[in-house]
């Protein structure tokens, strides 16, 4: 009886440890993505995103098709287009389904457009979808949507 309890306890602890490892890896990837966006640096994207044909990354009414399109036509150009960009992910929730995970978070985006001097402050939501490939979590899809901060009115 006591052996059974010990075995079950060990299984429970190891499950928690593994879950914690997965959580840590996914949160670390999200943090690296934040760095990439804020610094116009494609490196974290190339490291953590699964490069595959048909990949889609959505942002409020637009999308990039494929990893190179995302990095070269969205992430890197923002470095010159924006004077600054600050991106915060909060209330991160992660759900697992075997080798698949999806993480959702609240986002707050602040920045200034270099050309016009326009300052923006938006809040919204972010969805990240991951697949575990050879032991590492890789981003397979992202979707972010935001609107001007403090605007609570629903559009329809």
């Amino acid at each position: 009886m006591s052996n059974k309890i010990i075995t079950l306890t060990l299984i429970f602890i190891s499950t928690l440890l593994f879950a914690n490892e997965d959580d840590q890896q996914i949160k670390s990837i999200i943090n690296e993505i934040k760095f990439g966006w804020e610094n116009g640096d494609g490196t974290p994207f190339r490291k953590n995103f699964l490069d595959f044909e048909g990949a889609r990354y959505i942002e409020s009414g637009g999308q990039n098709e494929g990893l190179s399109d995302l990095v070269e036509h969205h992430v890197e150009p923002e470095k010159n287009a924006l004077k600054f960009l600050s991106l915060d992910f909060s209330k991160i929730e992660i759900h697992y389904e075997n080798d698949f995970a999806w993480a959702v978070a609240n986002i707050r985006v602040k920045g200034e457009v270099r050309k016009t001097g326009k300052v923006f402050d938006k809040s919204g939501f972010q969805t990240f979808l991951f697949r575990k490939i050879e032991g590492d979590w890789k981003v397979v899809h992202t979707h972010s949507s935001s609107k001007d901060f403090k605007t609570k009115k629903h559009e329809h």
Partner: protein
Amino acid sequence: MKTTHRTLLSMSLIIITTISLSHGNKPENPLFTGLDSKAAKIVTQFRKALMTGDVKLANSLLSKDVLIYESGNAERSSLEYVSGHMLADMKYLSSIQSEQIEHQVKVSGDVAISTSQSKITKTDAGKTSERISMETIVITKIDGKWLITHIHWS
């Protein structure tokens, strides 16, 4: 020489036929892929249910703990969505024209990802406006049944 020509012609025909058969009669449109899967059919049914105002069907396709992100709002269960914002969505969808311009579904084990893009045309007081709507849906096989567990609309 004639025999060589015939042989070449026959071989070419075989190759052409093989290529044609291996790709089917209708080449797959890369903008619409994976739509024959069971998971994809759930998404298509859900879309139709919203457009036709079928509350019961729409509700039956959602997981109880579905998380829905829409226009800066979050709904955290099917009950919250169905008893709250779904009717407004149905009313909105009946007032616009929506043309799906791409839709891809990828199935990985018991989870599937659906991404799509639609062109929304709205006529209000004689003025027509257009916008692009983006959708991400996660469909999960729960107790042998595919159900929608997450939606992100923007």
